[in-house]
């Protein structure tokens, strides 16, 4: 099909249709966000002003300004929200890596039959509703819920402790929801490791931890980076998890954007928050995509 259509209508159609769609519904919207982040909030529908205005004398006045961004910089609330989001995403990613790495390693070393079954078990929760999975932690972490019950049963605590609506609950929610995204790339990297390298190192007298730090870990690094990227990047902008499991003051930037938009109806500031969030995420996204491209090239 491809060969016969090369340069013809088939080729134009195959490339053109998705290209057009993505330009129209992905690229153009971003340009709009950028544009509106420089405009003034006004009381109207839609609630943002034009970038320039031509008055009766035919004089064009530039209305675009960086007030929204200045507002974000001046108000410590936004700075804290960014910091909190990055901090939360960082620690959650670390926790997911510490849980996901040994799991991926164990799955990669299992017999082929077990391996496929376990991989399916890793992916399965991803098919159930994300919202419901986050909600399940809300049930578990209640004062009268099973986690507190278990802790009291084992005598670790005497009365229910507050876990829900704390930062720890947010970490837990993120790790739980994104763990499959961590395990799968790690597994892919660990599964194709050449075990003879480990054997050779062990034969030459390297202790197990040394074999791990000088062979297994460096060779699985692409998987580590891909997994961390897949957890960290969406976690920074996460809205549902802090909203459901975090306290009312857990102002992560995704939640702030949501509130600016839905509660305050300040579209220009919401856009500025989005632009600033993207600026912070550009480096991890680029890093991630470079590693992905390299992994594909192999």
């Amino acid at each position: 099909m491809a060969d016969a259509a090369r340069g013809g209508w088939g080729r134009r159609f195959v490339i053109g249709v998705p290209y057009l769609w993505l330009t129209l519904f992905f690229l153009v919207p971003f340009i709009l966000v950028l544009k509106i982040s420089f405009s003034e909030p006004i009381m109207a529908q839609p609630p943002y002003g034009p970038l320039w205005q031509t008055d009766a004398n035919g004089q064009t006045e530039l209305k675009a300004n960086v007030d929204n961004f200045a507002f974000l910089v001046d108000d410590p609330f936004y700075k804290d929200a960014y910091f909190k989001a990055v901090k939360t995403a960082f620690f959650s990613t670390l926790m997911a890596l510490l849980i996901g790495y040994p799991m991926a390693y164990g799955i990669a070393r299992a017999s082929p039959t077990w391996r496929n079954a376990m991989l399916m078990l890793v992916v399965l929760p991803f098919w159930t509703s994300f919202l419901i999975r986050v909600y399940s932690w809300k049930v578990l972490l209640q004062g009268t819920g099973p986690v507190n019950g278990l802790l009291m049963y084992f005598g670790l605590i005497d009365e229910p402790i507050q876990i829900l609506y704390t930062d720890f609950a947010i970490y837990l929610g993120i790790v739980y929801s994104y763990l499959p995204f961590m395990i799968l790339p790690l597994y892919a990297a660990l599964e194709r490791l050449d075990l003879t390298l480990n054997e050779a190192a062990a034969d030459l007298g390297a202790p197990p931890w040394r074999v791990f730090t000088s062979i297994t870990l460096p060779l699985s690094l692409p998987g580590v980076i891909a997994g961390c990227g897949l957890v960290f990047i969406p976690a920074v902008g996460e809205f549902v998890i802090p909203e459901m499991l975090g306290g009312p003051n857990a102002a992560m930037i995704g939640r702030v954007l949501w509130n600016e938009f839905f509660a305050n109806r300040d579209w220009p500031v919401a856009s500025a928050v989005a632009v600033a969030m993207l600026v912070f995420l550009v480096v991890p996204i680029m890093l991630f995509q470079r590693y992905e491209a390299r992994a594909e090239g192999r």
Binding site: R11, P18, G100, G106, I132, R133, L230, F262, M277
Partner: protein, 265 residues
């Protein structure tokens, strides 16, 4: 070492599955206070089936998910073909970036940007005159086509082109080659892509909230409003039904995958 590794893996799976098991168990709790056990009851299932708001939302979500999955498979497959089969065309770098970007883009940004597009286009050309099913479907297709493209791309890059070439050499017209050879070979990827897009659409809260209008609340939006500030026993029942449906779907897909899609020679 080995034993310890299995312990870690088992603990990991316990972490992944116990919350879901707990939710299923609590769905049969008679008490309206979700975590205080008061005896077995299917009361909340009955309440769920009488909740018109949830039923309407579920029907709307299923409709959107079906349209989304179909659209995403078509566009995602085209995008995958463009990336695998045409290694050189103008703007290919931008194109690959555009396909991959929705995979990692925070949902709040995608949602906000699409809403701004719909608002701007309404004031410019009068379309869309109201936000609802259409705008939600468009938004869902945009992010889920990326996932379909990745799946189909993986399938296409391990694809044996000589089969297609042989058919072309034997005089089959390109459309026939596509229908008889290419399509059956990539069908598993198309089906898993369709299911993935369907699930993602059914599950999306953030993007839908931005681009929906009055009177078009999807199921996640209704669920979210019910559990945002508290627990709801009805939602436990809904979650259990959901998990049951996915379990059935999974068994079916394993059975289909065993049989295979490639017709016997």
């Amino acid at each position: 070492m080995r034993v310890r590794l299995y312990t870690v893996v088992s603990l990991g799976f316990a972490f992944l599955y116990l919350p879901i098991v707990a939710l299923v168990a609590y769905s049969f709790n008679a008490s309206p206070r979700v975590t205080v056990w008061q005896g077995f009851s299917t009361h909340w299932y009955a309440a769920l089936l009488e909740d018109q708001q949830i039923i309407d939302a579920a029907l709307l979500s299923l409709r959107i998910a079906t349209m989304n999955a179909t659209g995403a498979v078509i566009l995602g497959t085209l995008a995958a073909f463009a990336m695998v089969r045409y290694t050189k065309f103008r703007g290919r770098t931008i194109f690959t970036g555009l396909v991959a970007a929705p995979l990692v883009m925070p949902e709040v940004i995608t949602g906000l940007s699409l809403l701004l597009l719909f608002v701007a286009s309404e004031s410019l050309i009068g379309w869309p005159s109201e936000r609802g099913t259409t705008t939600i479907t468009i938004a869902h297709i945009t992010f889920s086509l990326a996932f379909v493209a990745v799946l189909v791309q993986a399938r296409l890059s391990t694809f044996d082109r000589s089969l297609e070439e042989a058919a072309l050499d034997l005089g089959a017209p390109p459309w026939k080659v596509y229908l008889v050879i290419t399509l059956p070979l990539i069908a598993p990827a198309l089906i898993s892509g369709w299911l993935l897009a369907f699930t993602m659409s059914l599950d999306d809260l953030v993007i839908s909230s931005f681009v929906s209008g009055p009177g078009s609340s999807t199921l996640p939006m209704v669920v979210f409003s019910m559990v945002r500030r508290g627990l709801s026993p009805e939602i436990n029942a809904l979650a259990t039904l959901f998990i049951g449906a996915i379990g059935i779907g999974l068994v079916a897909s394993v059975l289909i995958a065993r049989k295979g899609f490639v017709p016997p020679r």
